[in-house]
């Protein structure tokens, strides 16, 4: 049985193609990351969580109080 001879240039060329592709995929991730950074999901999530805890304080107020506050805001 003849053992197949490895050609180093084949490995090098296919490796170079894979590295090129890898760079481009990372470029795509960077592009997506920059898009996501505009939306700031982490800050939005933190704001919403802290907003909800403030809301729960408000819920302890009576319905009339909340209605009065809302009316004042809409009048402004």
């Amino acid at each position: 049985m003849v053992k197949r001879k490895d050609n180093p240039w084949q490995f090098k060329f296919s490796f170079a193609l894979a590295i090129l592709m890898l760079f481009l995929v990372f470029g795509y991730f960077t592009q997506s990351f920059l898009e996501i950074r505009k939306v700031k999901p982490v800050s939005v999530a933190i704001e919403r969580i802290s907003g909800e805890s403030t809301d729960s304080d408000i819920s302890s107020k009576t319905a009339t109080e909340v209605e009065t506050e809302n009316k004042a805001v809409s009048d402004q």
């Binding site: 050609n7 894979a18 991730f29």
Partner: protein, 414 residues
């Protein structure tokens, strides 16, 4: 000594795996909280000069806002509704005006969507939303009936139409007290669904037999999947589809049976039969790679060490992709595969370079993308591996364990 080193490596491997899962969970929770839609903010962004007053008639969707501005009458309203497209949820604002015979649609505003940019480009270029202007709220709004879908973006077209239909019809009943004179949409099963089922059936037939009819079946599937799944429907499975399922972005089977057939065929074949039929026969990008191989006739080998590491590489790439998808709640932002672009020739930014690079790689290295970069193939093969492991544990040995090298596609002898 060697066993101690292996134990330490496996210990660190488990820690890294646990950290990866934990970070994905955190990203998922953050993304879901941040993605909760603020309809009023979206509307204000789309119509900054218009004063909007929310109708108190219904707290849930569709939300109705009365529009007040110098140039619009008080009879104008904008109705907000949500639907599910190919990439996930989409939010539309429907501007409507009350008339003597009920109400008519003025304009459709796409307030938010998670569709692949290539699909949205198609929809915008074909002026899909213009066909809604002037329609009565009592019209059917059914794709294939009074609405034309955009070829190559059929699921997105159906998603937008469903969102508009549900909002408009509910608004007609609740706000205008109009009788239900429209036709309700039924199961949208047509020739496309029949073709896809036939392709899967032929693929199963071709996978289980080795005779001449099976060879012809495989050839029919190859041509059919390239033309139909690739260029016509542009419905290749990608990482975004898988992530979308976890985020609950599942379209209705009544309106998008093709999506269900594709998922059921791909997952069903691996879970029930233990065969990855999708990657080997249905994936149109695999066909493109095989054709490129035939054209070039060059079959360069990949270094065995590189091939062995490819599984870890794909897991790492898909971890980054999933982090981006979960954080943004936008499947298209992490799907790095060139499939959608390949079959629509529409893309954005660096996607224009990923496609030619993958084509170049496939010209010289057999199944270049599948073996080194494809997350869908790796995941489907992992399910096959897990299925075999479970089967072996339950019923004892038998069957060769699948390759753990990440070589998702059988490659001809190089």
């Amino acid at each position: 000594m060697a066993s101690t080193t292996n134990e330490t490596t496996s210990h660190w491997g488990r820690i890294i795996e646990a950290l990866a899962w934990a970070s994905l969970l955190v990203a998922f929770i953050i993304g879901q909280i941040a993605a909760q839609t603020d309809y009023e903010a979206l509307l204000k962004q789309a119509m900054p000069d218009v004063k909007l007053t929310r109708s108190q008639a219904n707290r849930d969707l569709p939300v109705v806002y009365r529009m007040e501005s110098a140039d619009t009458k008080s009879t104008d309203a904008v109705v907000i509704s949500e639907g599910v497209g190919y990439g996930g949820p989409l939010v539309v604002g429907i501007k409507a005006r009350r008339t003597d015979d009920g109400a008519r649609l003025n304009e459709i505003l796409v307030l938010s969507h998670k569709e692949t940019p290539a699909f949205m480009q198609r929809i915008n270029q074909s002026n899909f939303f213009r066909q809604f202007a002037g329609k009565s709220v009592t019209d059917n709004f059914i794709v294939g009936d009074d609405i034309d879908a955009v070829s190559g973006a059929t699921v997105s077209s159906a998603g937008f139409t469903a969102a508009i239909r549900e909002a408009v019809h509910l608004g007609a009943v609740q706000h205008l007290n109009l009788p239900r004179t429209w036709t309700e949409p039924g199961w949208d099963i047509g020739i496309n669904e029949v073709i896809l089922v036939a392709l899967f059936a032929l693929a199963f037939f071709g996978a289980y037999r080795r005779d001449k009819p099976a060879k012809y079946a495989r050839m029919v599937v190859m041509v059919g999947t390239l033309v139909f799944v690739g260029f016509y429907a542009n419905a290749s499975l990608n990482l975004g589809n898988i992530a979308g399922i976890f985020m609950g972005y599942i379209p209705s089977p009544k309106q998008h049976p093709m999506w269900w057939i594709m998922i059921a065929g791909a997952l069903g074949s691996v879970v029930i039969l233990g065969r990855n039929i999708y990657c080997h026969q249905i994936c149109p990008f695999k066909v493109v790679q095989d054709l490129l191989q035939k054209i070039s006739g060059v079959k360069l080998r990949i270094k065995p060490e590189v091939q062995r590491q490819s599984r870890a590489l794909i897991f790492f790439l898909s971890w980054i992709a999933l982090m981006l998808i979960f954080l943004s709640a936008h499947p298209a932002l992490g799907s790095y595969e060139p499939f959608a672009m390949m079959f629509s020739l529409e893309g954005l930014g660096i996607q224009w370079y990923i496609l030619p690079a993958s084509i170049l790689g496939s010209l010289f290295v057999p199944s270049f993308w599948c073996r080194l970069f494809c997350p869908v193939g790796l995941y489907l093969n992992e399910i096959v591996r897990m299925r075999r492991a479970v089967r072996e544990r339950l019923f004892g040995g038998g069957g060769k364990p699948p390759s753990a090298t990440g070589e998702t596609i059988k490659v001809e002898k190089e």
